[in-house]
Amino acid sequence: MRGFIGQIYFTIGLLISVMNPSVSFSGNTVLDYTAISVKTEKWSLPDFREDQWLKASVRAQDIVSGWDEHAVTIPWTNLTLEYFVKHKMQPSRGARALALIHVAMYDALNHSESKKYDSYLTVSVAAAKVLSYLFPAEEHTFMRIVHKVIELKKSSENFSYEMNSAFNLGQMIGNRVIEYAENDGAQKGWNGKRLQWYGEGRYYGPGAWEPTPPYYYYPPDEPFAPDWKPWVLKTADQFRPEPPPVYGTKEFMAALDEVVDVDKNLTNEQKEVAKFWVDGHGTVTPAGHWNQIAIKLVSKLELSDHQIAQIFMQLNIAMADTFIAAWDSKYHYWYIRPVTAAKKIKGLDFKPYILTPPFPSYVSGHAAISGAASTVLAHHFKSEADAIKAMGDEAAHSRLLGGIHFKFDNDQGLKLGRDIAQLVIDKYSLEIRYAK
């Protein structure tokens, strides 16, 4: 059966390549490109002001000079994280965005390598396309940067490849990833202006999450995330953790006492740890933080562009799926935050060291993402596996130090992330199968 499907894919691929010899698809990719409509579009350039081109030149120069010491995908990862900070990317959306960017770059690299196109150009165009989708207000910025990158490449010596084909291939891969993103469920509930969520499925009984001080944000963050389409998980609840301790029981009270005691006796060193991993609104986000760690790791070894793209693809897919699974747990259990429980049970106006984010407690999203990221990275950097896992543990523990999570939130989050990461490693290390 698989052979038969393979033959169909092969035939379609062949037909496409015959119909349009400049763009055909082959090689291992995360998304399936055989069924997309193959049409080349010109990326027309509106008139831009001189100063806008000047800024783009600087950016393009950064990217091109970044290629002297880094793989093709790294300068674009750095640029993405810069725009996360500039546009205050929601931490909860960061993992999804990074997965989309890295799938686009990984697929672009694979296709361009198999066609012997200039992978720098194809990857850049695909990345710029997806970035334009993620930051629509900056569409022209990324367009200008890519054109400046092309100019710089043109001016370099030994510039000989089918530039138009590489450009078109990058565009089509970018479009395919955008098409995937448009259908991954992340638009659910948005009417274009605000989230249309009215408490569906919310639990209000003893031990339930409530909006937390000091800002009492409502509605909670991403209540529809459990419905987003995962990359490798069959369903969001595939690894759903067991229920947390019941509110008010001895186990719960011990965990609450621990949060309060830890907060009371925080050392300066512990405060530093809590701050180092805070990764809140207006930062590179937890997923971005792990990309920065990965950039440092890959720079220590002699790895090919392909290997680096594969590591980042796995890393970001694992974090994106873990985010969905963690949010499934959050909106399944609707579990109380320590700050609320401390007030109710102990009458304490407990002020956690870091801000309690506006969504239920169990499991910790940061712990889960860190469990996933550290597992993927430890798999690829075996000589540093212990240190990487320790970083994952520390990131999870930082939420207890920050006073925003119980220890069991963190422990179960880490486990969830690690289970999902193993699934990603198993899938993408053996062979690439298309994501739906």
Binding site: Y198, G199, E200, G201, R202, Y203, Y204, G205, P206, G207, V246, Y247, G248, T249, K250, H332, W334, K344, I345, K346, G347
Partner: protein, 205 residues
């Protein structure tokens, strides 16, 4: 046509009819399964909406849901909460009163065994709590897990609710399944005013 051919023709027709009947039956079964799945999904969706309306205090929509056939005691799948739980927890006394007057079960329990009275006490919603007590809700119900109504009211720091529960004969000596008494809960919170009320009642006993 030879007799053998006629026989074959009859055989073929008979086999064809049998196959067609089997296919029809299979199709009917498939259709009925799909229909019943759709009906289940519709029913879930209606319950989901009904519970949401109760939580948001939208009495008109609650009434419309019931008119369209939703059970007044319908419960959500995860927490087994009813509309009365939701309306009580959010302080929508007009919805609570209407549900009670239309036969909602005031002793229905959620997944931890908590009643609507416990939910209103936990969330510090005094007026629904009074409506439920007046309607005969049991103030001494002990859920399988979690706080009793008096402990929940103590934890929400609502002295009015504590007094109301005591007025309706809540027993200060009733402990939760974890062995916690209302006095333990007030002591832990260091809530002197509630502690004093509870101790006075305890002394009288």
């Amino acid at each position: 046509m030879s007799p053998i051919n006629t026989y074959n023709w009859k055989m073929k027709t008979s086999v064809m009819i049998k196959i067609m009947s089997m296919v029809s039956i299979a199709l009917c079964l498939l259709c009925s399964t799909v229909h019943s799945q759709n009906t289940d999904n519709d029913s879930d969706l209606n319950t989901y909406e009904f519970l949401k309306y109760a939580a948001s205090g939208d009495l008109n929509s609650v009434q419309n849901s019931l008119a369209s056939g939703v059970d007044i005691n319908a419960r959500d799948r995860v927490f087994l909460a009813t509309a009365l739980h939701n309306a009580s927890s959010q302080g929508h006394v007009h919805v609570v009163d209407w549900l009670i007057s239309h036969g909602a079960n005031i002793e229905q329990q959620d997944y931890q065994g908590a009643t609507a009275l416990i939910w209103s006490a936990y969330n510090g919603k005094f007026r629904p709590l009074i409506s439920l007590l007046k309607a005969g809700a049991n103030p001494n119900h002990i859920p399988q897990q979690g706080p009793t109504a008096l402990i929940a009211a103590t934890q929400s720091g609502d002295i009015k609710a504590v007094n109301a529960l005591l007025e309706y004969e809540a027993d200060v000596s009733v402990t939760s399944t974890d062995g916690v008494t209302p006095i333990d809960a007030a002591t832990l919170r260091n809530d002197q005013s509630i502690l004093s009320v509870l101790n006075n009642i305890g002394d009288k006993k």
